[in-house]
Symmetry: D2
């Protein structure tokens, strides 16, 4: 065998199967990212990224290393999280694709102030940015996971005293038009108040008394939390579509109670090849 | 306080918010399940279940304990995995709902025979059954995750010798009409052959030589694996829709390469409120 | 290049580095397993296995496929879970090793009867069998994870009404002499009663009233649960050493409270090269 | 019922069971952390923390909120990662304990330069800091997880061409004296070179040719990687004890091959109540 002089571009070969592939890319990519905070300095986060493009039927493969090259450059320029559309436009161009998608998930920290003692601490929220570019149509999705307490209305009603309560997670994904903006901080604030009580990293005794009593005065099923957030998101005029899941890690069972709702507001065009996927993929 | 004599049905209260909820139920329920095997005895498996119904706007909550009661009965009668529609029909009726969904995921074991030594061993595959009942329209989805080896065509082409290879996972979900049946064993067989080489729990030295050389003779990108399975599933007349993901845990990177395709065959009516969800929910 | 006629045994080569390796083997092996139940039929489970031996400094490698061969045979003979020592003795012999270890983890289902309605349902418990053979010295460890409810004594004391409560997990590993036996069912029964209340898959309204009130009448910190189990395990004469962790998924925080204790009873010889490992390995 | 005027300190009550608890604290605490880099600016990371103290038999409970208060203050002062001993000394004092432990795990990014093209990209490594203070005796542990490629020597030897290869993870925990220091960057550099080849986030075609051929020229079992790192860590005079695990995600199987070694150098006093724990806790 002799050393190959030229490194052949195998991906560029003609493919005879005649199949356009909807998404091809990389996933579980770890990278540091800088997120713009509302009224504060930027926050450095550790993100997981997933990027893809469509692949035309004529080509054997996409050029995977270009995704990393572009991610790398945008991650260093601090623009990936603020100009998702610009990033996708470059991906689309450099990979000669008609559609491109990126999804970034990361833990984001926000100061929470204890209700009575007013001591503040940092709470981490799992967040996500998702951008989809189909030809020139761009859609952006913002996602947050917000831990809360739920206290069971049935348990309160039927018991002589107390009620079972537990940690629950509200997951919300929203979309809004390109010329509008919703801060992570503001979306969390909209949602967090709809549990039986909020959750805090640091509570002193007088705070603990407050949250215990507040949850008891405010019993909610997952159905109640879901409906209150549906009302909140319906009336927000910036939001064009939303998806909610509330999962409550029942303290009396080893399984969860959950509720789910997805709504697209009137007048919003539904995306043809919507990048959604069943639970068990 | 006096002891409450009657245990009030809080869930049954009238709800004033006027919001129909799309899905309410339980998830992460663990239960033993019995799966019918092709040409063999039944297999006992450990399953995770998720069940839900819609909730009419007039009611404050659904009756979560009824899901467990019905799951419990069907799990003991050994029918849950074989008569998913019957199970959903009972759920629909007992919870006075117009739609009902169930999803069961479990590890299923199939004998694999080493290619040369012919020694057999048990390989575990993550599988799922998903049933959706909307009024009287019933749809069933079968899902499997199949581990294979992929060997990189580019690495082989450009290198003087060898090529990087790695474990990859093919995830396939399919649907077929109510009056037809596809065995887990048969679906896995359709898919498994499309990697660079199959994976086996037990290989002797002469088998290891065979799989090493076979993978080298059969280099495939995730795009190649995806396209070959698309061709396979398109030509299968029983299958009405399918979804494929191929994820390759690259041995030269700490991230994955992946490809994705979803197709609904002509003439298949698209479901109105399709139970799909974004990756990061 | 010509085809190699003989398949050389590379593992058997002499190693010049002069290093005895403490453990070499396979892990994350999936296999079906049959567990003997107390007063009942056997239970089929899905197990994850980890097996290892020591490797003498003279040899380049161990023969990994032999682990699978022996696991395979013992899994089919239904003896792996009941004669762990016999399995390790064969491993030790066939791999020419002086020490051998196996660990099997699996979900095991036990019927639980609701406290008032007496309806029964299946609850899954994560369990483990671990056997260690060092020359001829054999030690066996039984592990269980038991979900319970904890209700906070501080929250109850300081609040005018109610108290925060949540799901918690008790993990217990015990050891006992070769000529004694403790059933999984019995170990779980010893532990489960020490929470504020037990957890059940299926509860009707009158049961829910009972568990809500019982937990309120029985408030416990993770420290309380730990101490009560320490007392229980100290007084059990069969048990020679134990390890306890109680982790409570606080409903008012997004983190856990936990407590940990490990005790080896007097007269029990401590193992020289104890197979323990730090949390973050 | 009247409002309780004083909020009683329940934790401070006398406990009659007479049991000293070895560890009580909080875990799965999320917090932003600042890590000092070698020859570079600090790096902001997202950490998971676990903190504990011992609890004297006279007291019913520890004061969990104090852990968060102190974590909070040290996290903001940017000292938690650089003065772990100072942090533990404060914990010990404010919780009136004789022993205290903290463990921080986080993803840390280091620039990697592709071998031929010299393009640089950021690779994330899971790292951990663990500090243990028993009375006045302080011990510090540094942990890293390093992904590499392993190429099987047996597969290479017996096959006419190619060899199976795959991603593997090397986990190393080390300890060194209080007056010495080892940078994360330096520990990773010591370890990373001992795979068949290093792993990179971004590789161009000429790099891919290089890593493919390098791995083939450098076949290694998990036993080989382990022994080479044992030699490396034995000869490093700063390191007083170490623990290594190498796990290789076999591309021809659905399970892993692994090797493990733990060594404490001569003259190092073994800790009485060593904070190690079995795999399945």
């Amino acid at each position: 065998m002799t050393i190959k002089q030229e490194l052949k571009d195998v991906q560029n070969l003609y493919d005879e199967r005649g199949i356009d592939i909807q998404k091809v890319g990389i996933k579980n990519v770890e990278l540091p990212l800088i997120i713009q905070r509302k009224n504060d300095d930027d926050q450095y986060v550790y993100a997981k990224a997933q990027v893809s493009v469509n692949l035309h039927k004529n080509y054997k493969g996409t050029h995977m290393s270009r995704f990393m090259e572009i991610l790398n450059t945008w991650s260093q320029k601090h623009l990936l999280s603020t100009d998702t559309k610009g990033f996708l436009t470059e991906i689309q161009k450099k990979l000669a694709a008609s559609s491109a998608e990126v999804e970034l998930t990361f833990k984001y920290f926000i100061k929470k102030t204890a209700p009575i003692s007013k001591i503040s601490s940092q709470q981490g929220y799992e967040c996500s940015f998702k951008g989809v570019l189909e030809n020139k149509k761009y859609t952006f999705y913002l996602g947050v996971k917000v831990p809360i307490t739920t206290l069971c209305p049935c348990s309160k009603e039927i018991s002589q005293y107390s009620a079972h309560n537990q940690r629950a997670i509200i997951t919300v994904n929203i979309s809004y038009p390109e010329d509008r903006h919703i801060w992570i901080e503001d979306l969390i604030k909209l949602i967090e108040k709809h549990g039986s009580c909020e959750i805090y990293p640091l509570l002193k005794r007088r705070d603990e008394k407050y949250v215990t009593e507040k949850a008891y005065n405010n019993p909610k099923f997952v159905e109640d939390v879901t409906r209150d957030i549906v009302l909140e998101l319906r009336k927000n005029e910036t939001i064009t579509e939303f998806e909610i899941e509330v999962e409550s890690f029942e303290s009396i069972h080893n399984h969860s109670a959950w509720a789910y709702q997805k709504e697209i507001k009137n007048g919003v065009e539904k995306r043809k090849n919507y990048s959604m996927i069943t639970y068990n993929l």
